[in-house]
């Protein structure tokens, strides 16, 4: 008995030593493999974030030495910078409307494609293709579509005797025009929704059929709740992306007319590279970051009221 116990103990020790040796090897190899991303995160993410925060408390034009500014940049943003509020208004207006409308269109297209139809992959390709168009090419195309004299839109409207509009040079129309342009790229979300729709279990629809409900009830009572996590995911990521819209404002309108398309990033960019106010621009960037974080936090906070997670709360 005793002998056996001793033998067991020494065996256990041996195994333990082997395990700890193996563990060490795994530790070493693990860090070898993830070392590039640790380095990348420190150099390309962490350092800029910290450095950006520091310079947001300074006055700096890169050429002359930094001067400590304390909170004065932040104070200026909130108290005496009309461009800040204007750009915030423009950006949120664009982001919210664009996200909602693009997702409705995407869901609509996905629902159409999810029906039993012929040429499904043809339609899917057609709806998806606009999303691969380079942004600048899209801007070129849409600038010409919106051209007041020779553009496609006014020509089409002319067929119905609607007077031509100055789409990009009218302060009220410029953001709606850009929202329509963003809806052209609904194909990305459509593909995600299509995958989600195909994952909705059939038997749930059968239950509705037994109860005698129409297409609308099927959609409202089964489809929508079942894909709500996906809708939520798309809303969050699209919202964050839309807040960073830049090139449309810079190239199509240069922020005009009368700052009606002065996107937040465009304002930051102008402050940094036209006015050479690096510190102020960095402070603006941080303010947006905090606003985004608060928005996303709030959305998450209230999300579980209307999102259905299969298999309980996530």
């Amino acid at each position: 008995m005793l002998e056996k116990a001793v033998l067991n103990r020494s065996l256990a020790k041996k195994i333990r030593r082997k395990i700890s040796h193996e563990e060490k090897a795994r530790l070493k190899w693990g860090y070898v493999f993830i070392a590039p991303t640790i380095f990348g995160m420190c150099v390309f993410v962490l350092a800029p974030v910290v450095f950006g925060l520091i310079i947001s408390f300074t006055h700096w034009d890169i050429i002359t030495p930094m001067r400590w500014a304390g909170l004065s940049n932040y104070k200026k943003i909130f108290t005496s910078d009309p461009l800040f509020y204007q750009s915030l208004r423009v950006t949120f207006y664009y982001a919210i409307a664009s996200v909602i409308l693009t997702n409705i269109l995407a869901l609509f297209l996905a629902t159409l494609l999810n029906a039993k139809i012929r040429f499904k992959s043809f339609f899917r390709t057609v709806f998806y293709i606009p999303t691969i168009v380079p942004l600048i090419a899209a801007i070129v195309i849409w600038s010409f579509i919106y051209n007041p004299e020779y553009g496609l839109l006014n020509s089409l409207l002319g067929l119905f005797h609607i007077p031509p509009q100055n789409w990009l040079y009218n302060a009220r129309l410029v953001i709606p025009a850009m929202i329509v342009m963003s809806m052209w790229g609904a194909g990305n979300n459509m593909v995600i929704y299509l995958a989600a729709l195909q994952g909705v279990p059939r038997h749930l629809y059968e239950a509705i059929d037994v109860d005698g409900g129409g297409a609308w009830r099927r959609f409202w009572n089964v489809t929508l709740p079942m894909i709500s996590p996906m809708i939520f995911f798309n809303f969050i990521t699209d919202f964050i992306n839309s807040l960073q819209t830049f090139a449309q404002g810079q190239i199509m309108t240069d922020g005009g007319p009368n700052n009606a398309s002065l996107f937040y990033i465009l304002n930051v960019y102008n402050q940094a590279f036209t006015n050479n106010a690096m510190g102020y621009a960095a402070a603006l960037a941080w303010v947006l970051f905090i606003i985004v974080a608060i928005c996303v936090g709030l959305i998450f906070r209230f999300s579980n009221r209307w999102i259905y997670y299969e298999g309980g709360e996530a």
Binding site: F33, P36, P134, V140, W142, W184, F233, M278
Partner: protein, 280 residues
């Protein structure tokens, strides 16, 4: 009753296809507008009322575009950037994702959470300090800022490849260990060859990201000799405001390679996007 049902179904079918066709037309209209305008003469393009199609296809617009602006140079520059970023993205991300997916070690979950967290940080808080940093290093007007980061992993690609690697049976690794392989051999000889489809997705998205990028080249490249297609097109649009047919030809030139890649790798695109939604 049955008769009624069938008729209702037929009506629904017609409605469905009508909607599909309307959506198709709307989605394709901008492409039609691009094609029509790129082949028109300057007289035709400004004719009122508008003409729906050029009387004959004016191929010389493309020749003029290449002559008026160094699009061939932009092309070469863009392809160079794409190639370097492709190499960087495929090697770095597959390597890093291997560590997260196939090796159990202390701190792994912490670092993976960090990687996911970086996806949440909007690039706006980083572009000014990054710009200053590169400038201080003397890398303004060079390709370093546009290529080097892709050699250190991208959060989204790491996530995507990790998901894929986890579907490969762990027994493969165990068997390889028996044969005396180490982790690096397993990565190179087993995981890398098996993950080709996922790597194609990474490649396609890297291609698209580099090809379509405007913001970073605009920020870092002042020297026209280094410009990319997107940058060139943007400046072309500013210079030739009255020659819409040439601008549209230029847009078509920058778009065409993207379309070709898409048609060859359509599945990688669609699967990659569906995968990106998985985390939701």
């Amino acid at each position: 009753m049955v008769e009624f049902r069938r008729r209702q179904n037929l009506g629904g079918k017609i409605g469905l296809y009508a909607l599909l066709i309307i959506c198709t037309i709307m989605m394709l209209f901008p492409f039609y507008w691009l094609l029509r305008s790129a082949f028109m003469s300057s007289r035709e393009i400004f004719s009122v009322p508008m003409k729906w199609w050029p009387s004959h296809l004016l191929w010389s617009n493309f020749v003029d575009t290449f002559q008026d602006a160094p699009f061939a140079l932009y092309f070469r520059n863009t392809i160079f950037l794409v190639a370097v970023n492709l190499i960087g993205a495929i090697f770095s991300n597959s390597f890093i994702a291997f560590g997260f997916a196939r090796i159990r070690f202390k701190g792994r979950n912490f670092w993976f959470a960090c990687v996911l967290l970086t996806m949440m940080i909007p690039s706006i808080v980083m572009f000014i300090p990054q710009f200053i940093g590169w400038k201080e290093l003397g890398a303004y007007n060079s390709y370093w800022p546009l290529t080097l980061p892709s050699f250190f992993g991208n959060a989204f690609f790491i996530f995507l490849l990790r998901q894929f690697y986890m579907t490969i049976p762990i027994e493969y690794d165990e068997a390889a260990f028996m044969d005396g392989a180490n982790y690096f051999t397993i990565y190179r000889k087993i995981i890398l060859p098996l993950s080709k489809p996922a790597l194609v997705t990474v490649g396609v998205f890297t291609f698209m990201g580099t090809w379509n990028d405007y913001f970073n080249p605009m920020l870092y490249l002042n020297n026209q000799k280094l410009w990319t297609l997107q940058l060139g097109l943007q400046s072309f649009m500013g210079q030739y405001t009255s020659s819409w047919q040439l601008i549209m030809a230029g847009a078509l030139i920058t778009l065409l390679p993207m379309l070709i890649v898409f048609f060859f790798a359509q599945r990688a695109f669609i699967e990659g996007i569906s995968l990106s939604g998985v985390k939701g």
